[in-house]
């Protein structure tokens, strides 16, 4: 059981993450996707908004996305507290600073704006979308990597 407490190998992680797609369909009848939870939070926070993005959004049918997000947080807590011999911090120590906070805030903004504009993220587009042979999802994934590579190689020396 010693291996359980170490980081898991890529093949086990990949298989189990991939199984989320059929399991979520079979057990709950839901399509795997996480970034819709951001829209659900927005819609719940602004119940009287005149913006179509919220007023035409079905808050009730998408409430499960928040339950899913809470589950992810609980799972990470369990993994960090009880399933890790030597839990590594998720973020580098350099992020625990004012400049780090600004980077996370700006990067977070790009995540929220970008995923909602693209209509999905790594889960909804890259995994669920490509698995269902949806070509716009493949294009989205190419663009995710284009954006990430451009920032890492173009601004990496200045940012990190």
């Amino acid at each position: 059981m010693q291996w359980l407490m170490q980081p898991w190998p890529w093949w086990l992680s990949g298989i189990l993450i991939g199984l989320t797609v059929p399991l979520l369909y079979l057990l709950a009848g839901k399509a795997f996707g996480i970034s819709t939870s951001l829209q659900e939070i927005g819609a719940l926070c602004s119940p009287h908004s005149k913006l179509e993005y919220f007023s035409k959004f079905d808050r009730k049918a998408n409430l499960w996305t928040i339950v899913f997000a809470i589950g992810i947080a609980i799972g990470a807590f369990v993994a960090t507290q009880f399933l890790s011999a030597d839990p590594k911090p998720f973020l580098p120590a350099s992020m625990e600073s004012v400049s780090g906070a600004i980077k996370l805030l700006v990067g977070g903004f790009l995540i929220g704006f970008g995923t909602r504009y693209a209509g999905g993220c790594t889960s909804g587009h890259s995994i669920t979308g490509i698995a269902n042979l949806n070509w716009p999802s493949l294009l989205a994934t190419v663009c995710f990597f284009a954006g990430g590579l451009a920032v890492t190689w173009g601004l990496g020396g200045w940012l990190f």
């Binding site: 890529w10 009848g29 049918a61 339950v67 929220g112 209509g119 269902n132 294009l139």
Partner: protein, 161 residues
């Protein structure tokens, strides 16, 4: 043509409720359990670790690429089995994928998200995982993501789609 009789502005539109069946308490429980499952995986596979994302974009290691490709292959095979045998959910509902359509935002939004992923080391799922795992700085990422989502909501009518 729209008939003007019996219109009541205070009533919410009904068609959305009919199109999507309500989520049962049992389904909510399953969603929560699947979230816990995924949260454990995000942590133990280290896909929620900034360094892993950074090393992926620098092509320093194959870890992330192997995980993503394996996950896609497993999900693709599972969907073929579900389609081939017309498997239903445990509540007896048919399983059908609704395709996400192409529009300009897939390209522009996709690249903006990729940039955010590289900076923060998180995509939306790992943001929740990092916070749950006690990485409080990730709250800045979440606040940023919510601000980004609200900005998109406000700008949506003016953006090309």
């Amino acid at each position: 043509m729209e008939t003007m009789t019996e219109t009541n502005d205070s009533q919410p539109p009904k068609q959305a409720e009919q199109a999507k069946p309500a989520t049962s308490p049992a389904a909510y429980l399953m969603v929560l359990l699947m979230g816990v499952y995924l949260g454990i995986l995000f942590s133990k596979s280290e896909v929620a670790h900034w360094q892993r994302i950074h090393d992926m974009f620098l092509f320093r290691e194959a870890h992330m690429y192997l995980i993503i490709v394996t996950a896609i292959v497993v999900a693709m095979f599972s969907m073929q089995v579900i389609k081939r045998f017309q498997i239903r959910s445990i509540e007896g509902k048919p399983i059908k994928y609704s395709p996400k359509p192409y529009h300009t935002g897939v390209v522009i939004g996709g690249m903006l998200f990729g940039a955010g992923w590289a900076i923060t080391g998180a995509c939306p799922g790992p943001i929740y995982a990092q916070i749950g795992g006690g990485q409080w700085m990730a709250l800045f990422t979440l606040v940023g993501a919510l601000l980004g989502m609200f900005s998109y909501a406000a700008l949506k009518p003016k953006l090309p789609h």
